[in-house]
Every structure is written in structure tokens, then in C-alpha cells.
Symmetry: C2
Amino acid sequence: MHIGVDVGGTNLVAGVVTKEGEILAKAKRPTINDKGANAIIDDIKTIIAEACDKAGLSESKITSIGLGIPGPVDNDSGKVIFCANLPLTNASLADMLKEKWNVKIHLLNDADAAAFGEAYAGSAKGCANMVMITLGTGIGGGIVINGKIFTGFNQIGGEIGHMAFIHDGKSCNCGAKGCWEKYASASGLIALTKEQMDIDPASTMWQIAPDKHLVDGQTAFIAKGEGDASGQLVVNKYLNYLASGLSSIVNIFQPEIITIGGGISNEGDAMLLPVREMVEKSTFRHPVRNTEIRIASLGNDAGIIGAALAGVV
Amino acid sequence: MHIGVDVGGTNLVAGVVTKEGEILAKAKRPTINDKGANAIIDDIKTIIAEACDKAGLSESKITSIGLGIPGPVDNDSGKVIFCANLPLTNASLADMLKEKWNVKIHLLNDADAAAFGEAYAGSAKGCANMVMITLGTGIGGGIVINGKIFTGFNQIGGEIGHMAFIHDGKSCNCGAKGCWEKYASASGLIALTKEQMDIDPASTMWQIAPDKHLVDGQTAFIAKGEGDASGQLVVNKYLNYLASGLSSIVNIFQPEIITIGGGISNEGDAMLLPVREMVEKSTFRHPVRNTEIRIASLGNDAGIIGAALAGVV
């Protein structure tokens, strides 16, 4: 049986996953990020054992463990290369886990894990060539080519959120300027919403979020739904940013499916339909076979399923 | 023996190519583009026969023919999907050639052919994961993954020149706005050069190109070499555009090698060294293994070698 662990900045979640991509049981605990890598690994060991217990599975039946990490990893050495939000930089996670379970350990980036999960068991089930983007604080990118996660020759590729999108634009945490994620992530939408609220004090957005700290990725969408012109302006501008980067993905990868995950994907058709139309107009088109854009279907489970199975199926 | 044909807007060139990537003989003729697909195929048949003759090779020894086409192709049906500069749209090139030689016919995009040639026998020889960009009127992109040309699920991917680069920027022939090639192609450099000449009537660039029709991709580089401030400004701005798009390629693909071809690559270190430095500063870095940026080494032969071998090795 396969174990997938989503090593998140807020929670650690472990799942017992069948080869078919079904989660039999999960266990969770909040991430402690001020006590070093050992504390995190100890908690991971605990929740793996708990998940096995819930699934009625003897730990001896574990055949592989995959960990989705919020940062670049080196799966050959079993080490995390860099982790901004957790004390895992340079940690030898694979070795640390092998002390308890001497099975195949697979490390991968969390966005890659989510992409693989959606490709294997979710919105892009059975699709061998797909791209997933996750709209959150940044934009996570996961690329599946010929049924495998693609990360380049050094395992750190797939950083689609860091395409140069507006030359010399907003400064990004990565050190570059104008990265796509500065504009088309949830954070990008929130920044855009706040800017427009400053411009239009009469906007309905001020009723939805009377304090700017309350602005989230839904604020402008709700205002737009209520007929607010500024809300509409923000949503249109944001979806244009989103569609423009998706068009780059189509022109470069021509994937069979692009799956969009993250909180903003909950907007559903209000996001999907205009984006599809814009992408169709600004990409190279095949006479018959073209990329389909979908909403992710597995939520946070995608990362658990993908982490469990990316290295073994 | 393998035949590779570069179907260019100006010339048709056929080469007899060994499995090792050596061109034994070439034959060439100007492209006639006002008499339909049949006239072009007739000329292709003629130069293939000429190249075989020059190589002392009986035509019966031809085992495969590959054609590099300036547009998207469908290799399954053997048809050209679209060709802007030649009357080949929808032409069944594979069938037309098979009337004469009943061998394996492979159609591919010319930028893909060049990339495969450089990966197989040129600047990236032996490299299984590389990207080639060709700086010309536009930017041609060719992606090699696991030793094979990557073109997405519908064969028309790899259009790296059409990444959204400056949101809502200059209108591109593709229908979108702000594509990378509008800024970082040779045409982009020429446009930038002319703009700066208008701003600075005292620039040395006016001596190098007294009439603006004489401006080419070298003008600003020459002026910069002579200490002209406007020349330097143009070159810096252009190399910044170039490096910024290359950074996107690194962040997404983390290829072992990026090879730069096209006329501007003749600038050599004047282009390569600053671009390498800029890319290094604005990309995700692996502690040990990082993308190397090189200049293409095979010139126009890359497309012939790649067309000949992409489908057979």
C-alpha cells in the first residue's frame, strides 16, 4: 500500500492510497515549524502510523512513501533543496523516514504532486499530457508529460508561475521582476482588488470587505455578481492576466488538459468560461485537437494521491 | 541513408545525412512560392535526386525523408497544417513524396528540426534535454525532452516565441499581444534600434545605417563597440528582453542546455556573456546542476540534419 504525505506550511496530512488512486484513510496534524526538521519528521511518522491504523492496515504493508514538499527537492539524494516556509532546507527526509520504514521514499514538489494526482485520479484522469496550475499565494505549476512529472534535468523545473509576464514589472520573491504569479495568483487578485477599492470609494467591494484586511479572492467576484462596475473591472483584468499566461502554456506545451486548482477555482464558470474564450482567441489552434481547460476536482487530496503514486505507477 | 530537407521561404535545401549526423552532400534551389504546392514538391524531388547524385548514392538507398516546414504540421496525416509564407497549407506533402519514394516520410516544424540537429550533432551534442531558440524575423522554438522533439499532444507546441511577455504589448502576427518574439527576435532588435535612432540623431548608428532601411541586427552592436551610448542602450535593453525570456525557459524546463541560433547569435560573447549573467540572477538555481546557455554551431545545416534524423534515431 502507498502512503502520500502533503507537507504543508499549515498542516501535515498523510493518506493511505491504493494503486487506483483511492484514499482509504487520512491523518492530520498542524505543522510545527519552529522546532527543526526532526520535529516535522516525527509528526509525519506519527500521522503515517495513524492513517494506517484508521485504514486497518499493518505498517508492514507499506510499500512506498511519497512526500509533497513546498519547495524544490532532489529525489536522487532524498533531500529538500530549499524550503522557504519550513525548516526543511537540506534535510535528508528520505533517510530520516527510512530509519522507520525501509521502503521506497519519493520526494517531489507539492505542485507536482497535485498535478500528478489530478492526472491520475482527478479532473484529468488518464491524461498523459497535462499541466496543472494552482492559484494561491503564488502560482504552483505541475507538468505531466507522457504520464510522468516533468521537472527538467535537475528536478527543479515546472516553475510556471515564474514566467516573465510583465517585463520589469512587480518584484517577485524569487528575485526576478514581473513574474506571472505576481499578477495571476490569488495574491495578485487581492492586490488588484485593493488598488481598485482605493480608486473607487463607492464600490460595492467596500461593503463586502469594510476593512482592506478582509479582502480575499472572492471580494471582486462577489461585487461583480452584484453589478458593481469596479468589481467587474477587477475581475476582467484579473482573468485577462490569468488567460494570458494560460495562453503561453498552450503555445508552449499544447497539453491535452490544463487543470486549474486553488481557492479561485471555486469561482467555477465565472472564471472558467471567460478564460476559455480568451485563451481560444490568443493561441495557436489545431484544426481538431485543442487544449481543454478544466477546474481541479480533488482539492487537497490531489497532493496526497500524487505524492503517493508519482514514483510508483 | 537519410534525407533531410529544409523547406525555407527563400531556399529549398536537401541533404544526404548519415545516421551519425554527417551531411554527405547538399543541393539547393530558390523557393518558388507563387505556383502552388506541386511546384515546390517537384523542386524538392529534384534537389533530393541532385543531393543523392552528388553523394554518389543510388536513390534506392534512401531509407527516410524528413522535411522541416516553416509552420505547424501534422505528422500523422503527413499534412502541413498552416504555412504563412509558402503555399503549403493543407498540402499532403508525405503522400506527394511517397509517389516517388515509398519510404518513411517525417514532417516537422523547422525550428524543431534545427533543435534536434543541434542536440544530435551540434552545440548540444548528446544532450537529451535541451531547448533551442532561433532569433530571426520571429523566435523559433524547439524543445527536446528525453532525446525526442516535444510538441505537445497535438504536434503544434513549442511556440516559445509566443509566450506572453509584455502584457497587452505590441500586436503579434499570431493574433495575441506582447509575445516575446516582438521584443527579443532580430526584428525586435531592429525596431528598438530604429526607435532609439529617432530619439538620438547624433548616434553613431546613423553613420552605420544612414538610411533606416539599412538597419539590421548588427547596427546597435557595432555602435556599442564604438562606444556609442545609444548603441549601448539599445543592446542592453535588447539583451535584457532576451535574458528575461530565457529565464522563463529555465524556470519552466530547466534544460541541460539552451542553444541560441539565428543571425544575432553571430555576436558571440557580446551577446552570450551578459545574457548568461542576467539569466543566472533571475532563475531558480540548483546547487550543482544548472542550465548552460550556448551558441548554435551548425548554422543552417542543423535543420537539415534534424529533419533527416528526428523521426529515425
